[in-house]
Structures are given as structure tokens and as C-alpha cells.
């Protein structure tokens, strides 16, 4: 059974300002923000509230009530920043803490309270510690986040709801406790439904017809028949191993031992769950509070200790231990299913599916980067530069076959280079060409092979390719850009045949 805790900060913003200037604590304090050409109060503190000042009042009215009102400009993103900071601090109570804007926090406290010796002591500790920090709060504990939220804000007597009693707890509460929008609340009040018990037993169909789906969803969430997910401030990593050290580690050997230990633990767990690492982070918490990160990624899921260690080993030198490392954490931030294969009696060599090949490419990628590794598959284009494309993976199948009907050079220039050419008759292969100051007399030639621009991809002139051989027996790929009679044609060299 799950347990949730909702914390309501009654005066979050003003409490924070009072913490910075303790003198404000005893004075009536409001925060203001301009709205439609006037100043409106967005937050009040307890003193101001006791004198009848409410959120949403116009500042001038409030001044009329309390002449010595303390006024501070509101900051729009203040609650978010504050709540996040408090939520991170609250990790001491439970690993899953979610920010509940604008003025609350939600904990998933399942299985936590016994560490404090029961629900009362647990809630008591939360209240005590947050109140000590200077915040005015109400804390409620219930089986669902919705019920805890409702009781924290609107509950009158006990704020700790026993197991399975959330229905009884919310019956006397007003409809606002269901986290409905303003319109629905107003409509419910207008019809005389001032408490949840007055409408909870109505037929669901008529409730849906009159108020929409929202009322039913929220009711289900409070009662627990619909699951509500929290968005934790620090996402929980399911595959994580920790290794605290008795004494700070400063040597490479020490770091290697720690890594080996962590990898063995992690891979054992992964193996049992039939998972493999795709990305992993090795964090070293230093004595001086800094965290050193080393990250690796693999081509295919792996739970092979030796291989993963090799990947990390290439990067271990970037860890600077300084005064020493007191805690090592290894996280598998991305895992994928990895089913172990039956061992073979003999290894088959060669295929692209070979696990040893994937491991080799991982090692290369972790040293020089993934961008250095290319595999190509054919693409259906005649334009030479587009006749092949990068494959997405080692396993990508060919969608079309490689063409062999046209001669293509084995070496190609990254971009075609200009050459000087003497050609006797239009559309005949040239007699000679000058490239890099050397004259090549052409003895044999094939061509032209005209390749048109693919106008839907790129505009420009077509190319007429010639496969030529000079008197020394070297073979080249030349082309003329444009028609011979256009007078603006140019000649280029594009590659070398073997």
C-alpha cells in the first residue's frame, strides 16, 4: 500500500522574505504585482491575513485597512525556485519528492515512515524541521496524493488519515479540495453542494453531464481508483550502484578497483533482469564537494564487465581526485533488453552482428567519437555525391542494391576541381587537360555519360562525365558542367580510376 504526504506552505513567498529580513515577521506584509492598471496583492503573511487582507485584493483597499502595510514587489518564478530548493532538501525524508505548484510539495512516502518510528513521528519530524526553517506549513498523510492534498489544505481535525479511510476524510470537505477549476467549484456551490458528501453519491452519469469529466477524474484520484503519478525533482535511476569509501581515494588504482567493483555489481543485476547498458555514468564525489563525471555509451546493449571497464578505462584519466574521492556512484542511465545467446562451440568470424565487432567500435567511439565511424548503404540517385548514404546502424539492411552497370572511380575528390581542357569537337572527349600544372595527353576515353541535376533537390547545370586515360596509363574521371555551346561551361576533375 502506498503512502503519500502533501505539504501546504500557507505563506510561502512572504515567509521567504521574512527569513531574509526577520523584522518583517511581526509586521503586516504583502507582495504586489501590477494587473490591469492597478496593484493587486498576490501573497500575504499571517499578520496581514489576521487583519482581513486577502489574496487578490487591490493594494489601495488594503492600505485603507492597514496604513503601515509593508509592500514588496512579487517575483513571478519565485515559488517555483523556492519549492524546488526545498524539495531537494526534502530528499532526506523520501527519495521521491515532487513540486506541487503553486504552494506545495508531494512526497511518495511509501515504506519510509517506519524509519522514524511510525506515521506520527514521521509527520512530526517534517513539521518540526520545516517550521524551524521558518515556514508556516500544514502536512497531511494519506493513501493517495489527492487525499493528502485535500486534507492538508481543508482538513480540520486529524491530518493523518488511517489506511483506506480517505473517503471518510474528504466527505466534510468543500469541493475545492478536489483540485477542480474555478468554474466547476462555483457551479457546485451555486447548486448548494458545499461539501463533497452532498454530491459524491450522485449517479456518475449525471455528474459527468453537468460538470464534465474533471470532477469524476479528480474524485477517482482522491479515492485511489485512478493512479496519480508524481514527477520527482531528482529522477530515480533504477540501475545504480554506490560505493562509499572509508578513506578518500586519490590514486588511479583505487579508482579502477572501485569501478571494477561497481561494474561487477551492476552487471550482475543487469544479467538477472536480461538488460544491457546503452549509456552509463560513473560519478566520483570529491571531498571538496565537486562531482567528477565520466560517461560512456555503447552501440548495442551490453552487460559485459570487461568490455564496459575498457570503455571507462579510456576516460579514467580525466578524473581529477584532488583531495580525494569519498563516494563512487555508477548509474546505467539508459538500458535496453539484452537476451544472452547460447554459447557457441566455435566462433563464426566476420558478420556485422558479431559482438566483438560492436565492442571494438565502442572502444573506437569512446576514444575518438561516434562521428568517426561510417558505414554506407546505396541510395537511389544518379548524382555521384548522393549515390550512397550513411547507414544508421550496423544492422541496417539494403533497400536497393549497389549499381555496377556504370563505371565509377575508386577515389573521388571531396569537391570537383577546375581543370584546363582542350577539346576538339563539341561533345567529344578532350584531347588534353592541365591539372595542377601538369599536362595530361589523353590517349583513350569513354563517354560522355550525362548525369542530370535532380531538380527537386538542387538547381544547376548537368554534368557530362568522361572516363579518360592519359599516355602514362593513369585513368581519370572528368566532367563538363553545362552544354558545350553555352560558352559558360567549365571542366572539372572529379576522381581517379584504378
Amino acid at each position: 500500500m502506498s503512502t503519500y504526504i502533501a505539504i501546504w506552505f500557507l505563506h510561502l513567498n512572504t515567509d521567504w522574505f521574512s527569513l531574509r529580513q526577520p523584522v518583517l515577521k511581526t509586521l503586516p506584509l504583502v507582495l504586489r504585482t501590477p494587473s490591469h492598471g492597478r496593484m493587486v496583492i498576490t501573497s500575504t503573511n499571517a499578520v496581514a491575513e489576521s487583519k482581513g487582507i486577502r489574496k487578490g485584493m487591490v493594494l489601495a483597499d488594503a492600505r485603507a485597512i492597514i496604513p503601515d502595510l509593508q509592500i514588496i514587489d512579487d517575483q513571478a518564478d519565485l515559488p517555483q525556485k523556492l519549492l524546488r530548493r526545498i524539495a531537494e532538501w526534502c530528499i532526506r525524508f523520501t527519495p521521491i519528492v515532487a513540486v506541487d505548484l503553486p504552494d506545495g510539495l508531494l512526497f511518495d512516502a511509501s515504506g519510509c515512515s517506519h524509519l522514524w518510528g511510525g506515521d506520527e513521528a514521521y509527520v512530526g519530524d517534517i513539521v518540526k524541521r520545516l517550521t524551524q526553517r521558518g515556514y508556516n506549513i500544514r502536512v497531511a498523510l494519506a493513501d493517495t496524493p489527492g487525499a493528502a492534498w485535500a486534507v492538508a489544505r481543508f482538513g480540520n481535525d486529524s491530518l493523518i488519515i488511517p489506511k483506506g479511510k480517505q473517503l471518510e476524510a474528504i466527505l466534510p470537505l468543500p469541493p475545492e479540495a478536489l483540485r477542480l477549476d474555478v468554474e466547476n467549484c462555483e457551479r457546485l456551490h451555486k447548486l448548494g453542494f458545499h461539501q463533497i458528501q452532498q454530491f459524491i453519491n450522485l449517479p456518475r452519469a449525471s455528474l459527468r453531464r453537468r460538470f464534465g469529466q474533471q470532477v469524476l477524474t479528480q474524485l477517482d484520484k482522491v479515492l485511489g481508483s485512478e493512479v496519480e503519478f508524481l514527477d520527482p525533482v531528482i529522477p530515480v535511476v533504477s540501475y545504480q550502484e554506490r560505493l562509499p569509501c572509508l578513506e578518500p581515494i586519490i590514486t588511479v588504482t583505487g579508482i579502477e578497483i572501485a569501478l571494477q567493483e561497481l561494474l561487477t555489481m551492476l552487471c550482475l543485476r543487469l544479467q538477472q533482469d536480461q538488460k544491457g547498458v546503452r549509456t552509463a555514468i560513473f560519478k566520483s564525489y570529491r571531498v571538496d564537494g565537486k562531482i567528477e563525471h565520466v560517461e560512456i555509451s555503447t552501440n548495442r546493449p551490453s552487460h559485459h564487465v570487461k568490455h564496459l571497464f575498457k570503455l571507462f578505462e579510456l576516460k579514467l584519466s580525466s578524473i581529477e581526485p584532488a583531495l580525494g574521492i569519498e563516494l563512487f556512484v555508477l548509474e546505467a542511465s539508459k538500458v535496453e533488453d539484452h537476451f544472452s545467446k547460447q554459447e557457441k562451440m566455435w566462433e563464426d568470424t566476420g558478420g556485422l552482428d558479431d559482438i566483438r565487432l560492436a565492442e571494438l567500435l565502442d572502444r573506437i567511439a569512446s576514444r575518438v567519437g561516434m562521428y568517426a565511424i561510417h558505414r554506407y548503404v546505396p541510395a537511389e540517385h544518379y548524382w555521384p555525391e548522393r549515390s550512397f548514404k550513411k547507414a544508421n546502424s550496423l544492422q541496417e539492411e539494403l533497400t536497393t542494391s549497389w549499381r555496377t552497370d556504370k563505371q565509377r572511380p575508386l577515389q573521388i575528390l571531396r569537391r570537383p576541381e577546375r581543370i584546363e581542357v582542350t577539346a576538339p569537337i563539341p561533345d567529344y572527349p578532350p584531347m588534353l587537360f592541365i591539372y595542377k600544372g601538369r599536362i595530361h595527353k589523353i590517349v583513350k576515353a569513354d563517354g560522355p555519360e550525362r548525369i542530370e541535376q535532380e531538380w527537386w533537390l538542387q538547381q544547376g547545370q548537368h554534368r557530362d562525365y568522361y572516363h579518360v586515360e592519359d599516355e602514362s596509363g593513369h585513368r581519370y574521371w572528368l566532367f563538363r558542367l553545362g552544354h558545350y555551346h553555352d560558352k559558360i561551361f567549365q571542366w572539372f576533375i572529379h576522381g581517379y580510376f584504378s
Binding site: D354, R356, W402, R475, S498
Partner: protein, 247 residues
């Protein structure tokens, strides 16, 4: 009778030496390297797999010829589904053209690196990986220590390595099993037809451990290398010289 036994003893001793030098007889797979007349130059008339071969070229045009000869050779010596790693810092190879030499371009993985140091490191790592059929590396220069390291790596993994590097004035001694030089020759025309015929190369095997170096003129016909029908006078002369030397 004593003559034949002597020859037998020589053959046995030679194969012993080969084994001691780290050449495992590639007994389980007998590959036909498709090299035609050239095959006689190798020890035991088999192309040495599981070794590092060195290819030198003078001009950029000849490096294309080297790539062409190498692709033809690779298509014959590697397994059908074998993977080739092509490591280079200055790659100009046009992948689709490999298909013309019988290689599947999608079975080649190209590693494009920034400098020579990375190429040598990647080459060393790749040659240790038994999952590959062949590794081709384009480097600027290689010293004896580096080549020895590569040779040690292949002795364990039985991968075949090929290094392509430019010709230098003073060539370092290397631990490679062979040194080749491929030069493009005017193509052979078929039946006096116009245009370019079948590409022809001058294949110089400058050094081969326990083999006979020589010069050949080869053409690639239907995926196999064949001796050119009308070799040039120079090659013929060099050939007779080398035969006389060995005799």
C-alpha cells in the same frame, strides 16, 4: 634418391622456420587468392593471411591503382560475410565503386580519424579483434616498432592487415610480411575497340618473407587476376633477371 630426400628435408625445415616466425599455416581454410601467376611467389604457394602487408605508392593516381588491386585481392581472400575496417585520416575512397571489384561496400566500415596517431591506435585495436576479416589502414609513415606491434597483434587474432602508405626516399625497415608497389599501366583494349579497356597494373612484389619477389603485369578479369597477354619489355627483362637470381 638422396636428392629427393634432401628436397623433402629442405621443405620440412622451411615450413618449420615459417612456423617459428609466427606464421601459422592457414590449414583450415585454403583460400584461392585469385592471384594467378603471382601465387608462386608466396611461401607454400599460399597468400599469407593473418599477416600485415605493406603497399607503397608514388603518386595519387597510383594510390587509386593500389586501392583497386587491393580491393580485387580482398574480394578473393576474405570470407563471404567478412567485415573490413578501412581506417584513414585522409580518405578519398568512393564506397559505391568497391562493388565493381567484388566487395560489398556495406560490409566495409570506414573509420575517419583526425591524425596519424589515432590511425595507428585504431589499427592496433582493430587488428586484435578476431571478428574482422581484414583491416586496411592509410598512413603517412610507419617505423619498425609500430609495424612490429601490428604484426604481434595479427599473430594472435589471425586478422589480415594492409597498410597503404606513400613512397619515401629512405624506407624504414618494417616487420611487415611483404612490400608491394602497384602502378597503373595503359589499359588492355579488347579486340581493338575504341575507349578504355580492362585496367592493367604493374604489380611489384618488392619484398616477401620466405618467398620470391618479382614483377608482374596483371589484369582483373571476372574477379580474378590474370597475367597480361602482352607485357612490356621492361617487365619481361626484370622477370628473367629475378628468375636468374633465384636460380
Amino acid at each position: 634418391m638422396s636428392r629427393t630426400s634432401k628436397a623433402d628435408i629442405f621443405a620440412a625445415l622451411q615450413s618449420d622456420i615459417l612456423r617459428l616466425q609466427g606464421f601459422k599455416p592457414s590449414s583450415h581454410i585454403q583460400v584461392d587468392a585469385g592471384l594467378g601467376p603471382l601465387i608462386e611467389a608466396f611461401p607454400n604457394a599460399t597468400f599469407p593471411l593473418g599477416a600485415v602487408h605493406e603497399f607503397r605508392f608514388e603518386k595519387i593516381e597510383d594510390s587509386a591503382a593500389t586501392n583497386g588491386f587491393l580491393s580485387g585481392l580482398l574480394s578473393n581472400v576474405i570470407a563471404e560475410h567478412g567485415t573490413i575496417l578501412w581506417i584513414s585520416a585522409t580518405r578519398t575512397l568512393f564506397p559505391p565503386a568497391l562493388k565493381n571489384y567484388g566487395l560489398q561496400p556495406d560490409r566495409c566500415i570506414f573509420i575517419d580519424l583526425k591524425n596519424q596517431k589515432e590511425v595507428m591506435w585504431a589499427m592496433d585495436e582493430a587488428l586484435k579483434c578476431g571478428a574482422l576479416s581484414a583491416v586496411v589502414g592509410e598512413v603517412n609513415e610507419i617505423d619498425f616498432t609500430a609495424s612490429r606491434r601490428l604484426q604481434l597483434a595479427v599473430e594472435k587474432s589471425q586478422v589480415t592487415g594492409f597498410i597503404i602508405l606513400p613512397e619515401e626516399k629512405k624506407i624504414n625497415t618494417t616487420a611487415c610480411v611483404s612490400r608491394w608497389k602497384i602502378t597503373a599501366l595503359p589499359s588492355t583494349t579488347i579486340d581493338d575497340l575504341p575507349g578504355i579497356g580492362i585496367p592493367k597494373w604493374k604489380v611489384e612484389l618488392l619484398r616477401i618473407r620466405n618467398g620470391k619477389p618479382g614483377v608482374w603485369e596483371l589484369e582483373l578479369r571476372k574477379g580474378k587476376f590474370e597475367q597480361s597477354i602482352n607485357p612490356s619489355a621492361e617487365t619481361l627483362k626484370r622477370n628473367t633477371e629475378s628468375i636468374q637470381q633465384t636460380a
